[in-house]
């Protein structure tokens, strides 16, 4: 069975490595400060106790007052998984560090989030729309998109 | 000593194709030979039972495409809704069957024929009278097992022996 690690115990490990990067951690969700996502990601991948080498998916949810980007990571040998989140509050040009150099699988999914939500990912090889044509204005999956 | 490098694989593949030359083809000639479709087939048009229908509009609400339009007026005498206008736009309908499934009074069925192409987009909209249950329109057994018994059994490709001629 895939054990989904609870946010608390992983949060403690992250805290001692990057103090102040965990915004909130409860039993099933673990929120990371938005600008520390890349370091936490690299940490989660390299430490041998966790070594989350497989990124299941990256997606974003529009929680009306802020965007929430959700990463589901899992490790194939230990067969455990973890869901971490990052929030960005400003709606004009939300930005997050891209995790493409840690997991190459995030390439198209981050472009899709940019295309449908407008969240820019710095450090992404070619950050442009994936489904809609470049002239399209607005980001459809936002709640305030008519 | 595996001989699979020197044309044996190609030869085996060739024997398979030549064997198919002697087998009965699996295709059937549509307009002349008609296969029986499934008894639960979700045909394109709806069949509406006016007596059972109470005008509750559940079908219009559950239709994901919003293809069903129902207008009712109240009839104080028998305190019952009278259905003024009942239209199903088969152009929008994706034949998902949620309306037939959700009708609490079993007043809506699927028709069992699939050859209902039209020339005009306006003809696609099925009015109230076209939906009535007339004898020659076969009712599909989708969600109604008793109606399924009356329909012919589905012809399956498995039963049609494709080995011998």
């Amino acid at each position: 069975m895939t054990v989904s690690l609870s946010g608390k115990e992983v949060a403690s490990k992250i805290e001692e490595k990057f103090s102040g990067s965990v915004v909130e951690s409860s039993a099933e969700n673990l929120v990371i400060k938005s600008d520390r996502v890349l370091d936490v990601a690299r940490f989660l991948k390299e430490t041998d106790g966790l070594d989350f080498d497989y990124l299941n998916f990256v997606t974003a949810v529009d929680r009306y007052d802020h965007f929430e980007v959700v990463y589901l990571l899992s490790s194939l040998e230990h067969n455990h998984s973890l869901m971490i989140k990052a929030r960005c509050y400003d709606r004009e040009n939300p930005a997050l560090p891209s995790v493409v150099d840690v997991w190459q699988g995030a390439d198209f999914q981050e472009r899709e989030i940019y295309d449908l939500f407008g969240i820019k990912f710095e450090g992404h090889p070619n950050m442009k729309r994936i489904f809609l044509w470049d002239g399209f204005d607005g980001h459809p999956l936002r709640k305030d998109y008519i | 000593m595996k001989l699979e490098r020197y044309g044996i694989g190609i030869a085996k593949g060739l024997t398979v194709t030549i064997k198919h030359l002697l087998r009965h083809p699996t295709v059937s000639q549509y307009p002349e030979q008609r296969l029986n479709i499934s008894r639960r087939f979700r045909g394109n048009e709806l069949i509406w039972n006016q007596e059972k229908c109470t005008g509750c509009g559940t079908c219009a609400k559950t239709c994901p495409q919003g293809a069903i339009e129902i207008v009712t007026s109240t009839d104080a005498a028998e305190n019952k809704y009278v259905v003024e206008k009942y239209e199903a736009d088969t152009g929008y309908c994706i034949q998902c069957g949620l309306c037939v499934e959700s009708c609490p009074y079993q007043a809506l069925y699927f028709s069992h024929n699939f050859e209902c192409a039209k020339y005009r987009r306006s003809e696609l909209v099925q009015g109230k009278e076209k939906m009535l249950d007339t004898p020659e329109r076969k009712v599909s057994g989708y969600f109604y097992p008793d109606k399924a018994e009356k329909l012919p059994k589905q012809t399956l490709l498995i039963e049609k022996i494709t080995e011998k001629r």
Binding site: V61, D107, E112, F131 | G9, V16, P64, L98, I158
Partner: protein, 367 residues
């Protein structure tokens, strides 16, 4: 005097005989050798994730049919698993067994198309494709008997299955089950040891294990690179832990191994269906669920081993009759991230085979 050559951009455009649908690759070629390719998506983007926000939970099931339209039953099942996990619904025994039989039949049907299309790209002029379509017709006949439609089944509901199996389903399935192995051996004999296919496909477009994991590939593409990861075994959903079947893996992860991997997986699915048929219990097929399901506030992610890979639904609900957010993990789109590295340096003919061996459906990529 060296001949001055410059690479030219060739548009393997949305309309191309072997891009499996409206998929476009802008390939820069130097003569026949592929220098770089840039996939272009969005020709079949219908905004399904936006549509799900205005539909009731049961109204979304017809939408999931249109994601990976070659294996709609698996999409239905994945979505229903997610909603049941979110709302905490217990599915009756008979429905679980029916779901396993139908999902494994759908896997065989989808893998048949994948293998047929791959062989067709290699040049075997439609013969394997038509043989495998004949088997797929038999499976689609069974699905038509059960659900009423031949492609967009809309058969599974939250809490179970929409209707019970008709009584003539079991004899037809039994007849299919004892004829299928004979046809499977015939496909192997047709092209498996074919020298030309081995010359064309072995060692072409190699995807190593680490690269596959790093590109979060899943399904036959991942297992063909030697990674033993199958969700039916690693994280068994519904009742997959009751059946014994094994997970075939290959070694080098080239096009030939992906083709062989899919053929082996079809045989495993036959084993599962055989066991599920024997243990099929009587009983209700659908839990007591209101037609307009209203799950509590929260989120849930459920996934299953679809024929293309790990298909998952991430649902966020705010206690209303429509989900607040429904994200679909598209195995076809994510498997394509590795395409660019696999294809560089090979010829145009190999680009077509490597792309064919990844086996994508555009409905799932563009959503």
């Amino acid at each position: 005097m060296a001949v001055r050559t410059e690479p030219f951009v060739l548009n393997m455009g949305p309309v191309h005989p072997s891009t499996h649908g409206v998929f476009r690759m802008r390939a820069t070629l130097d003569g026949e050798v592929v220098v770089d390719i840039e996939p272009v998506f969005g020709y079949l983007h219908r905004g399904i994730e936006k549509l799900t926000e205005q539909r009731t939970y049961n109204g979304i099931v017809p939408l999931t049919d249109r994601l990976d339209y070659i294996s709609s039953m698996s999409n239905n099942l994945a979505y229903c698993l997610a909603v049941e996990k979110l709302a905490g619904i217990k599915v009756p025994e008979r429905a679980e067994y029916i779901r396993v039989i139908i999902a494994e039949l759908q896997r065989i049907a989808a893998l048949l198309i994948a293998v047929g299309a791959f062989l067709n790209d290699c040049g075997a002029y439609f013969t394997p494709f038509l043989y495998m379509f004949r088997e797929r017709e038999k499976i689609v006949d069974l699905f038509e008997m059960v659900s009423g439609q031949r492609l967009t089944y809309n058969y599974m509901r939250v809490g179970g299955v929409s209707q019970d199996l008709p009584e003539e389903f079991m004899p037809a399935l039994r007849k299919f089950m004892d004829k299928m192995p004979h046809y499977m051996d015939e496909y192997d004999q047709l092209l498996m040891q074919n020298e030309i296919l081995i010359a064309r496909a072995k060692g072409v477009g190699i995807l190593s294990g680490e690269q596959a994991i790093n590109c979060s590939a899943s399904g036959p593409v991942l297992r063909a690179s030697g990674v033993n990861w199958d969700i039916r075994k690693a994280d068994p959903y519904s009742i997959y832990d009751r059946f014994d079947f094994d997970i075939p893996t290959q070694t080098t992860g080239d096009c030939y191994d992906r083709y062989r991997q899919r053929v082996d997986e079809m045989r495993q699915s036959l084993r599962i269906i055989q066991q599920a048929m024997e243990q099929l219990p009587p009983g209700p097929v659908r839990a007591e669920v209101p037609h307009l399901v209203r799950p509590p506030v929260g989120e849930a992610y459920a996934r299953l081993e679809a024929p293309k890979g790990e298909l998952g639904f991430y649902l966020v609900s705010d206690n209303s009759i429509a989900p607040d957010r429904c994200h679909i993990r598209p195995p076809s789109l994510i498997n394509l991230t590795a395409l660019r590295d696999m294809v560089r340096g090979w010829k145009v003919a190999d680009l077509i085979i490597i792309f064919g061996s990844i086996d994508i459906t555009v409905g799932e990529i563009d959503r």
